[in-house]
């Protein structure tokens, strides 16, 4: 029997607000001492009440709109109960049956095809604190509680079970992060835990409409581990069903070191979160006007920008895709193009940015933060290449230099003698010397082997350390060889 895998992703993204979801504590706790970013509200003291951070709502709405969702005009918060020390109130304020946004999609490019992946819901909730487990000198295990993270605004984005492979899931997660970053909703940083991806995986006979028993996969800490963990889990499940076994509904964790998914310890109590509407917060009513306003704050999204760049600047779809990988690189490209001289094709700038610049930057998604090559300098360099002032090889050297030093490529070229020489009087000596020193090649040329001129051009280039302009050298050589016939 043919089987297919069905995957749905639950992505948690921390919203990039200055203060927490329900209190005024700062969210900038990275590197801070434990329990220094807390107050009675986020530490769950008796008698405290939550006050909703309106900017978190704004960011959450942006995400909903960017994912083509319907904003639920009257949504509300609910309490989700479970006992654990990292949850100071004993419940998490979340959204259950009336989430902020429902019924959207995002488009992923996969194997050369565009696919729409459904978004079931987008809802707001608060992050938990962190437990740190330690072992004392006496060998006894104890735990420390840090509530700095407790109450940081989170968004949970639940996809439809529309994904079928690890690669697709990875593409979805990456696309989602790209969008979150475009609209300044989240840093999307997986290593810092600002973006967390959990998956529900099942397998079923191809063509079947029913879903098999779901296995929840956790602890995937990078896009690569998302892909590997899910592919591993799919293979594991296929092996079980093909050998006549049954998949049990469970939670498994990805073991990065062993590259396998392993069952997580079973809880001692059944999951019953006892959701009920949060009585401390009135229903959240989103007016049409507010929705329209937020729509206006949603920046041009990656796909739209990709299509516009390709069209407006006559660059390839591939270049446009790469350039719009992040809003920063797309902004950079457009800034460079705006500074190009008349007649310099944006395509040339695109090539240099996606090629050499990205290679130097090496940051994922073309992170250019380490580069000192401003759009002005990049435009200067591209102009020099287009105008024949430097050749490709020299331009590459200049780019690397300017990337690190932030100095003008033209000044660097002058200093290093890399400007191309097209002045005939400066080249004639080298041309004559090449002819004198290579009688065999000259003879071949005159004997009809016209391609022998390539060798002579190479000799001139070597003498001029590559700064000679090749087409000028060719003309001079042809003229000289014809004259001394």
């Amino acid at each position: 029997m043919e089987y297919e895998a069905v995957i749905g992703l639950e992505v948690h993204a921390q919203l990039q607000t200055r203060s927490k979801m329900f209190c005024r504590c700062s969210t900038q706790y990275a590197g801070a001492e434990p329990n220094t970013h807390i107050c009675p509200v986020c530490a769950g003291f008796p008698g405290v009440l939550p006050v909703l951070n309106e900017y978190a709502v704004e960011l959450a709405m942006r995400v909903g709109l960017a994912l083509n969702c319907e904003i639920v005009s009257t949504n509300r918060f609910d309490r989700k109960h479970y006992p654990y020390p990292d949850l100071p109130k004993g419940y998490q304020i979340s959204q259950y049956d009336l989430p902020l946004a429902v019924g959207g999609y995002l488009t992923i490019g996969h194997m050369g095809e565009e696919r729409r992946i459904g978004i079931i819901r987008v809802h707001m909730e608060e992050d938990t604190g962190k437990l740190l487990h330690r072992r004392g000198d006496d060998g006894e295990v104890y735990s420390l509680l840090d509530l700095n993270r407790a109450g940081v605004p989170l968004l949970e984005i639940v996809s439809a079970p529309d994904l079928h492979s690890g690669a697709e899931a990875r593409a979805y997660a990456q696309k989602l992060r790209q969008i979150l970053r475009y609209i300044d909703a989240s840093t999307g940083n997986m290593e810092e835990g600002a973006l967390r991806v959990d998956a529900n995986v099942s397998v079923r006979p191809r063509g079947s409409e029913e879903l098999g028993p779901k296995v929840e996969i956790k602890n995937m800490n990078s896009f690569r581990s998302v892909e590997r963990a899910l592919d591993h889990e799919i293979a594991r499940q296929l092996e079980v069903v093909r050998s006549g076994g049954r998949i049990s509904q469970e939670t498994r964790g990805w073991d990065e070191a062993a590259q396998v998914t392993l069952p997580q310890r079973r809880k001692e109590y059944a999951d019953d979160y006892r959701y009920f509407p949060e009585p401390d917060l009135p229903p959240l009513v989103i007016s049409d006007e507010r929705r329209r306003q937020t729509q206006g704050n949603v920046a041009e999204l990656p796909d739209a920008r990709r299509d516009r760049l390709a069209e407006q600047y006559a660059i390839s779809a591939y270049d446009a895709e790469v350039l719009t990988g992040s809003r920063d690189t797309a902004d950079y490209f457009e800034a460079v193009v705006a500074r190009l001289g008349d007649g310099v094709p944006p395509k040339l700038a695109a090539n240099w940015i996606t090629g050499d610049l990205f290679r130097l930057a090496k940051g994922e998604d073309g992170d250019l933060s380490g580069s000192k090559l401003s759009p002005d300098l990049m435009a200067e360099l591209v102009g020099m290449v287009h105008g024949g002032e430097v050749n490709q090889g020299s331009a590459r050297l200049l780019l690397e230099d300017a990337f690190r030093s932030g100095r003008s490529p033209r000044a660097l070229a002058r200093e290093r003698g890399l400007l191309q020489v097209s002045d005939e009087s400066q080249l004639s000596g080298a041309v004559r010397r090449a002819i004198e020193e290579n009688p065999a090649a000259v003879e071949d040329y005159r004997g009809g082997k016209k391609q022998a001129i390539g060798f002579l051009i190479g000799q001139v280039m070597r003498q001029t350390r590559g700064t000679a302009k090749a087409d000028v050298v060719r003309t001079l050589l042809e003229r000289e060889l014809a004259a001394s016939d």
């Binding site: 009675p40 530490a43 769950g44 003291f45 008796p46 008698g47 405290v48 009440l49 939550p50 006050v51 909703l52 309490r79 109960h81 006992p83 020390p85 100071p88 109130k89 004993g90 419940y91 735990s143 509680l145 001692e268 019953d272 006892r274 959701y275 009920f276 009585p279 401390d280 917060l281 009135p282």
Partner: protein, 495 residues
């Protein structure tokens, strides 16, 4: 006019009378605070209204009050000694909620209601006894002591704000704050012969009020007169940015609503509140009071609130459900009591809660957890909310025909200490008449309306949402036409 026309001692005067004496500099705030501390020292061994007496702080605050009184910057309650139910957070002062699980807990912040009283100049005498987590109708569920009713020390003061009511009745504070979830201000006010108001839900900030049932809890004043109640309400009401359920509806000066007659006021009388379980002595006093309202000019209107009989049952779904959630945070990890027992986290949680909570609290946590459980939620919690909507709409309909509704506050007078401890259902029935207004979120006041077997009876006046003015106005007119407000229990030797 001499504000001390009789032999009453300072602690038995009203807030208004005391303010006048302070303004005239006939007494000082420190002197007044001392008089109250003396009264506490004299009677609290028998009444047991206080869990904590903050004598030193009271004298400090009173000194400040004297300075402001001297410089003419006095607030509306400047120098008035008061006390708070022990679930209103006070920075630096132990706040136990009547529970072992919060023994030793010292809040790092002030409740908004307390902060506002301090802004108005009031002086804190201490924290008052209560049923644990405000669950109870007799104050016997306190983990620390049972408060006695000052009118008869062998009876209960009512609850859960029993300490707050007893303190006012015994002259141990000029006024107090309690909290009312299903009657916890009004019922003890009735049983102790004082005035108690449950404001409209959202009128007074809940920030810093340790939650029992969030959609029902309201802080309310307990006072010796209706005018005092208006004065305290003026100080504590209004929108609070820390409480998203507090209302932006404007707060009028409630003292201007006080009136002497009831011309043009339509008073609704619902027969559902005069049925089975109502003590004859209570019924007699309440019916006489309603006749008095008519004599003052009110028009009596028969109204019907047929869902009253379902209110109690639905309350015992909603309130425990919310309580089971609100009390989930008491795990011993961050504050309060932590059991030394248990091999791991779950065992320690269980031991802490087993040892930290009393039987009534455990009963309600179990009720509430059950009502919210998967498979039962729709049948209990959701259905209860529907009944709540019906209760509310019945009040709306009734208020089309009347301006306020008059009922008994409690079906009985104060009962013997210990007499209902083994029968939670009988205890729950104490709140039969107070719960409907709580469910509807509307304001209701209990005002003394006589005695039955020597124990006080309360008249409850229920008003429209945010219309505290009408019920205070009517209660004031009634109070002025009787002398109930001047009667005090005989705890101290006359002189």
């Amino acid at each position: 006019m001499d504000m001390r026309p009789d032999s009453r001692s300072l602690p038995d005067l009203s807030v208004r009378e005391l303010r006048t004496l302070l303004d005239r500099r006939e007494i000082g705030a420190v002197e007044l605070a001392r008089a109250y501390l003396d009264r506490i020292g004299e009677v609290d061994g028998r009444v047991r209204a206080y869990l904590t007496v903050t004598a030193e702080l009271a004298l400090e605050q009173a000194e400040e009050a004297d300075r402001r009184l001297a410089s003419g910057e006095a607030g509306a309650l400047e120098g008035i000694p008061m006390a708070l139910k022990d679930l209103i957070s006070t920075r630096g002062i132990e706040t136990t909620c009547g529970s072992r699980i919060l023994r030793g807990y010292v809040p790092p912040y002030d409740a908004t209601a307390y902060a506002r009283l301090r802004e108005a100049g009031a002086v804190l005498l201490g924290k008052l006894n209560m049923d644990e987590f405000a669950m109870g109708s007799s104050t016997e569920n306190s983990a620390f002591a049972a408060t006695a009713n000052p009118w008869d020390l062998s009876t209960v003061p009512g609850g859960s704000s029993g300490g707050s009511a007893a303190a006012v009745a015994a002259g141990e504070a000029a006024f107090t704050l309690g909290s009312d979830t299903g009657g916890s201000v009004r019922q003890p006010a009735a049983l102790c012969g004082v005035v108690g108001l449950k404001p409209t839900y959202g009128r007074v900030s809940r920030y810093g009020l340790i939650a029992f049932a969030s959609s029902l809890d309201q802080i309310g004043p307990l006072t010796r007169t209706v005018e005092d109640c208006a004065l305290v309400m003026n100080a504590i009401s209004g929108l609070d940015p820390h409480d998203s359920t507090s209302s932006p509806v404007e707060v009028p000066d409630l003292t201007t609503a006080l009136r002497d007659d009831l011309q043009g006021v339509r008073v609704g009388v619902p027969e559902e509140y005069f049925g089975e379980g109502l003590e004859p002595g209570v019924e007699r006093a309440v019916r006489e009071a309603i006749e008095r309202l008519r004599a003052l000019g009110a028009e009596l209107v028969e109204v019907s609130l047929p869902s009253t009989k379902y209110a109690l049952a639905t309350y015992y779904i909603i309130a425990p459900a919310e309580a089971s959630s609100n009390l989930a945070r008491y795990d011993g990890v961050r504050y309060g009591y932590r059991s030394p027992d248990g091999e791991d986290l779950v065992e320690n949680y269980l031991a802490t809660r087993e040892q930290g909570f009393g039987p009534e609290v455990k009963r309600r946590i179990m009720l509430g957890t059950y009502a919210l459980s998967a498979g039962y939620y729709e049948a209990y919690y959701v259905k209860a909310q529907k009944v709540r909507t019906i209760v509310k709409s019945e009040f709306d309909r009734a208020f089309e025909r009347c301006d306020l509704i008059a009922t008994p506050t409690s079906p009985t007078v104060a009962f013997e200490l210990g007499s209902r401890l083994d029968d939670p259902l009988a205890m729950y029935l104490s709140d039969t008449y107070t719960i409907p207004a709580s469910m509807a979120g509307i304001p209701a006041i209990s005002v003394p309306c006589g005695f039955s077997d020597g124990l006080p009876v309360g008249l409850q006046l229920i008003g429209r949402a945010f219309d505290e003015a009408t019920i205070l106005g009517a209660a004031h007119a009634y109070e002025r036409s009787t002398d109930w407000a001047r009667r005090r229990p005989e705890l101290v030797s006359a002189g």
